[in-house]
Symmetry: C3
Subunit: 344 residues, 3 copies
């Protein structure tokens, strides 16, 4: 795709300082961009690369534009503007509507004429595939599930029965939606399976990373609200609810029945135990374990710092003495304070 | 399915207090259950919902039944009773026996007439599929593997060669059983692959969650005993052995050759390093790292508490000083004790 | 396969002490090996099993060979020698070249005549499959990706578009290579997808464990260099670079744009945050979180020790008091020192 800077800026409501008729064709990094390429500056760590950039244009803030050696696309939110411009210059591939001859579609499934179903896809009875849905090779959609308009299922994805996927979802390879939640009752030392009878309901504009798993509810549904963004290898247990506009980084796991608020940002490898409530606008830093409900917006952390192992070994052994150290400290404080009193 | 409370109670050896001829059709949560629905009370946190429940019947303990406003199904183990009743009211779907025309079955595989093989399944030579096995779409079963009677493989599952899966297993989508263990020898700074020649042996009544991986043994087999319950995204390395009736929550990883006892309960995101032995009846809490063998039953933990990040940052920095703090504390104790002696 | 010890030793440049004409057929553990089986001793924990071993031959160091009760294959690196001997005695299965009739190969894909493509495989346009590649059942290879000579893709693997996989790679089931990186820009509280336009470039002799995910780059490529060994369920985010001969154990996650050096060994469940640089020859122990760049080779750790939960609960609560404890300790030190001065 080719755009003049003027046309591009118009599309994304930004302002050009420079040659509005200059043509750009693709995006690149600040370091490697050449003429006819657009790049962006958001991270101040890269500001020194700006002055020597060979880019055809740079998306940046008004403040940073002072030092821009080339055409500037000025935005109050350069990263969001970059996202839109990159999408314009590199549009997602379009797929021809139709059903590959090797796909297996149950007679009782309803597939929109504008949907594109790839090779080897299996769609069971009662499924509804809406307009402009793309289902990639090797995906399986179980009985009575629905895929909303414009959603894309990449490849080798499993959606089990009675799952309701919204519109414009992007689901990456290997995702499993609707597997049974982990419900086990114990009787005489033996586990009995608790039937998992709820479904999964996913809103609109959700993105789900590769090999992430979202379990079906035990009785009621597991719920992912609109515009939630899930990275790869996340585990969402039964009856979890994730509020709209929450983003979660890779390998985080959320145990059963926990409710996460809206606009939260959960970093990677975080664990959140079951039956908690996390307020809106909560951030949790990488690898923390959340063991209690969080009622106030804010940033939360757990964990210990990385050290050379030799030193760490000495310190971590002391962790086991922490309670006794605290008590001994208190005793010392009392002794000193009484010594003082005695001395006075 | 419809049952009278009397018939239902008889099936699960429980006692009805109320109208034994009352008909129930489905299960629901305590909060949302309506007439002709059964619910249960096990978690005391929900007891206040009991008095206003609109349920047709509630499964609960004798003690809790005093406050039950509707028909009561009294059980010494309400959750297990609920599991059984839910299974009766919502039986698993049955599948017609037979092989989908698009499945690829090697001529040297043996498939029971009562097995159900879905679209796109690939079964290699020497495989034995026993009675009433259900293999869902997109599954691959490698050479000489066996699937025991009544086992269900959901969809997009890979079982490699020479794996022995027992009876009545439930295996969820995306599971990989029998991939090579991570065996690498180093020679002159370069890794050489160590062939992984063992298999995987899985007992009866095992459940394996979505995208969990169980590697084949290096020389001998990786072993999962009867009635083990594994949640999603668990990693079981080569030559691990998991004892019967042990349950493990999501995203836990067990390194090579570690043996876990029977009746253990391992929480989510736990790491267990290699070559350890964990006794029977051990519980490990969420996100702990197990670095040594555990010889006694009991509950074990590791980790630090979640805090607002501002406070956490101050505390975690101190972790690096722990050993020095311990030493300084000791010095102070000596000084005070000698001051005292001097003073006396 | 059958070998005389003499022939075997010659192949792997080792020395036999004993009967060079003795025939061996397979490998086994030191404990269970029988006649005509080869085993090895590398871990001193197993040395006591040596004297009573029934093995036909044992691969071991010169020092250990003194106590060897049977034929010895002497090596300065017994584990690497074992790896080679095991590969000779149990060669990987060979596959007949050719394309299964149920595979779906785009007309614009190029498949070597010596490649073996299994049932249900989907290969899109522009793909190049080199000589002696084996692609197992259910794999999907997206547009314009390349698979180098001799690489093996096990089953149910997804390689998306524009990925470049080197030679002699071994990729295990469920792996996803080239899914979109997690790029999200926020605008007015709503997430906007940042197009992920880079690819994935993987060198030669790389092994990738089951259900591991390697995301494509945002603008430039994600890079895995030669002879990198990745265990199961690892998450490699966009624009990560992993240096040659680095090995990473299961369930580790590496966030975006982090560069890991050569010859590193990262243990399981480690988290490495984004935009870091890790030097060559760094080791990180299990479950550590790496939050800053590491400039020097060495061993690094984080975390707290496993304890009985009762004790752990007492200690972990004190973690929140660590900063205050450190300050109180300092105050005491001053008081004592001033008391002393006063006393003097």
């Amino acid at each position: 795709m080719k755009y003049t800077l003027g046309d591009l800026a118009k599309e994304v409501s930004a302002e050009v300082v420079g040659d509005t008729s200059y043509i750009v064709e693709s995006v690149a990094t600040l370091l490697n961009a050449q003429s006819h390429q657009v790049t962006f500056l958001t991270n101040s760590a890269y500001r020194k690369q700006l002055v020597s950039s060979q880019a055809g244009a740079v998306i940046l803030s008004k403040d940073d534009s002072v030092e821009c050696p080339t055409n500037a696309i000025i935005s109050t939110n350069p990263y969001a503007t970059y996202a839109k411009i990159a999408a314009l210059l590199s549009p997602s591939e379009s797929y021809d509507p139709g059903i590959h001859h090797s796909a297996h579609i149950d007679n009782d499934a309803t597939i929109s004429d504008s949907a594109s179903i790839a090779a080897g896809v299996v769609i069971e009875s009662g499924v509804i595939i809406a307009d402009a849905v793309r289902i990639g090779a090797g995906c399986v959609v179980g009985k009575n599930s629905k895929i909303g308009a414009g959603s894309v299922l990449a490849a080798n994805i499993t959606i089990t029965h009675n799952c309701d996927i919204g519109e414009r979802n992007i689901i990456h390879p290997g995702v499993v939606i609707g597997a049974d939640g982990f419900g086990q009752a114990i009787e005489n030392g033996k586990w009995i399976k608790v039937p998992q009878l709820g479904g999964v309901v996913i809103g609109d504009d959700v993105e789900i990373g590769a090999n992430t798993t979202i379990d079906r509810g035990a009785i009621e549904d597991t719920i992912i609200e609109d515009n939630v963004k899930l990275d790869n290898q996340i585990q969402v247990a039964h009856n979890v609810k994730i509020g709209a506009h929450t983003a979660i980084a890779g390998c985080t796991a959320i145990a059963g029945s926990t409710k996460i608020g809206k606009h939260c940002r959960i970093a990677g490898m975080v664990g959140i135990v079951g039956h908690l409530e996390i307020a809106d606008n909560v951030m949790v830093t990488a690898k923390s374990l959340v063991t209690h409900s969080i009622k106030e917006a804010g940033v939360y952390s757990a964990g210990t710092p990385l050290e050379p192992s030799k030193q760490w070994r000495k310190n971590t052994i002391r962790f086991k003495q922490l309670d006794s150290m605290a008590k001994r400290l208190k005793i010392l404080e009392k002794q000193i304070s009484s010594n003082k009193n005695t001395a006075e």
